[in-house]
């Protein structure tokens, strides 16, 4: 770096260095792909598991509900990073080792599932009792009532809080860098130390915006799309 550079030039050189950006773009693009895969896998697994648990909970079997509530409370209380580290570093001692990708995926999916379960459950409970009664009085079974009457209404109510939670937990994919998962943050920070320049971090930040702004916009669209007048 030229000592004659002004403060502004130094800032641009360190954070918006086009040559360095070009040089490390492929590495960060690789990280981008990994993050996308991981995020999708977490969303699918977390939301499906959360929905399944909420549905099971609605059958109100005492023992099952005890475990579901315990799961949801523990997973919501644990910082996701702790869970990732436990799965990655502690499981091998129990004879089962997970890759960095798998450990991050399992940990984030479990956390998302716990929040999703609570959100879906709140939605199911918020559907008025009269809806159950009307459906059951026409001969629909409990499961049919849940599937055709209660869940479609519950899901609409859950979309806004669920979208927020999905965004905040998928951003947790960055935590995978702690267990050396080559996702965006990890690629960006190792590129930055290799280059002795922070520009790859800027590129990483742009990659996150590129990934999550559409998700945020999609969430907003879904929210307005699924609201109906009472």
């Amino acid at each position: 770096m030229n000592p004659a550079m002004s403060g502004w030039d130094r800032f641009v050189f360190s954070f918006f260095n086009l040559d360095i950006a070009r040089q490390y773009l492929p590495a960060i693009a690789k990280g981008f792909v990994t993050t996308v895969y991981l995020a999708l896998a977490v969303i699918v697994a977390g939301v499906l598991l959360g929905l399944t648990l909420a549905l099971l909970r609605s059958f109100r079997v005492k023992v099952a509900n005890f475990f579901i509530i315990m799961f949801a409370d523990i997973m919501r209380a644990l910082p996701p990073l702790v869970l990732i580290i436990l799965l990655f570093f502690a499981l091998p001692y129990a004879g089962a080792s997970l890759s960095a990708f798998a450990a991050t995926w399992v940990a984030l999916s479990l956390v998302l599932a716990a929040f999703a379960e609570e959100i879906f459950w709140a939605g199911i409970v918020a559907v008025p009792r009269g809806q159950w009664e009307a459906a059951r009085s026409t001969g629909l079974s409990r499961a049919q009532t849940l599937a055709f009457v209660v869940l479609p209404q519950a899901v609409r109510m859950t979309i806004p809080p669920l979208t927020n939670r999905v965004i905040s937990i998928t951003k947790g994919t960055a935590l995978g860098s702690v267990v050396a998962l080559s996702e965006i943050l990890n690629q960006a920070s190792s590129s930055a130390s290799q280059a002795g320049n922070a520009t790859p971090m800027t590129v990483g930040a742009l990659a996150y915006l590129l990934l999550f702004i559409p998700v945020v916009i999609f969430g907003r669209w879904v929210e307005t799309r699924f609201v109906w007048k009472k």
């Binding site: 459906a135 026409t138 001969g139 629909l140 109906w228």
Partner: protein, 245 residues
């Protein structure tokens, strides 16, 4: 002698330690319209809701069309098809059209094809005067229209009896007439009906029998002209004078 569609004997129900129904005996014959009146907390809604087991009674028997619906192992979902229920708050499914509301059970419980179910659903909606509203969602309908969809929903299943739980209590006064008209036509078509309601003028005009419930028992019953014109039971007189003022 006409046949009893609904036959209730020695029915008891409590909420915790509070008895709500204390030994109800009551039969409703085919084509009969029975009106149940009584002060709030007298157990009339609970009685109605026991008749399709939305509430579980403690003891007694309820025969619907000859089948004891309280017998263990009874196919409740099949039996409920015979027992229509109309609710105070309509309870229409807000995410479905009027036709969707009416055809859901036809398709999912009776396993009818979409086309056949829709044909039957349209006929049921036409019967309550809503032929042109089949594709409307509940929020696009007035309260009176919503309640008529509720009635069509139970009629489509061809029940043997329809239970009405305060069907007009949630309606603005100017919307009550349309619902009562549909109920009147239903009665004239020979439907067996049990109605819990405060529409005394309707009871006077359309009911075959009026039952007065008080504190969990049937305190008095008789023809509407006797019950309203010449009430003998003291609590009934009190009740009538209170609701008329």
């Amino acid at each position: 002698m006409s046949k009893a569609i609904l036959d209730i004997a020695a029915l008891h129900k409590s909420y915790g330690a509070t008895p709500v129904l204390k030994g109800i005996d009551m039969a409703v014959n085919e084509n009969e319209l029975v009106f149940i009146i009584g002060p709030s907390g007298s157990g009339k809604s609970t009685l109605l809701r026991c008749c399709n087991r939305l509430e579980e009674p403690e003891s007694g028997s309820i025969l619907v069309d000859g089948t004891d619906i309280l017998r263990p192992g009874v196919d409740l979902n099949r039996l409920r098809q015979k027992i229509g229920m109309v609710f105070q708050s309509f309870n229409l499914y807000p995410h479905m059209t009027a036709l969707g509301n009416v055809t859901l059970a036809l398709r999912k419980v009776q396993g009818m094809e979409k086309e056949a179910a829709e044909e039957k659903g349209r006929a049921a909606l036409a019967r309550v005067g809503l032929a042109e509203k089949v594709n409307a969602y509940p929020n696009e309908l007035s309260g009176g229209q919503q309640q008529r969809v509720g009635i069509a929903r139970s009629l489509a299943l061809e029940p043997r009896i329809v239970l009405f739980d305060e069907p007009t209590s949630a309606l603005d006064p100017e919307l009550v007439g349309g619902v009562l008209k549909v109920m009147r036509e239903l009665k004239e078509s020979g439907m067996t009906m049990v109605v819990v309601s405060h529409e005394m003028a309707f009871a006077r005009a359309a009911a075959d029998r009026v039952i007065f419930m008080d504190k969990g028992v049937i305190a008095d019953q008789g023809a509407p002209e006797d019950m309203f014109g010449n009430p003998k039971h003291e609590r009934l007189r009190e009740f009538l004078s209170r609701i008329q003022h």
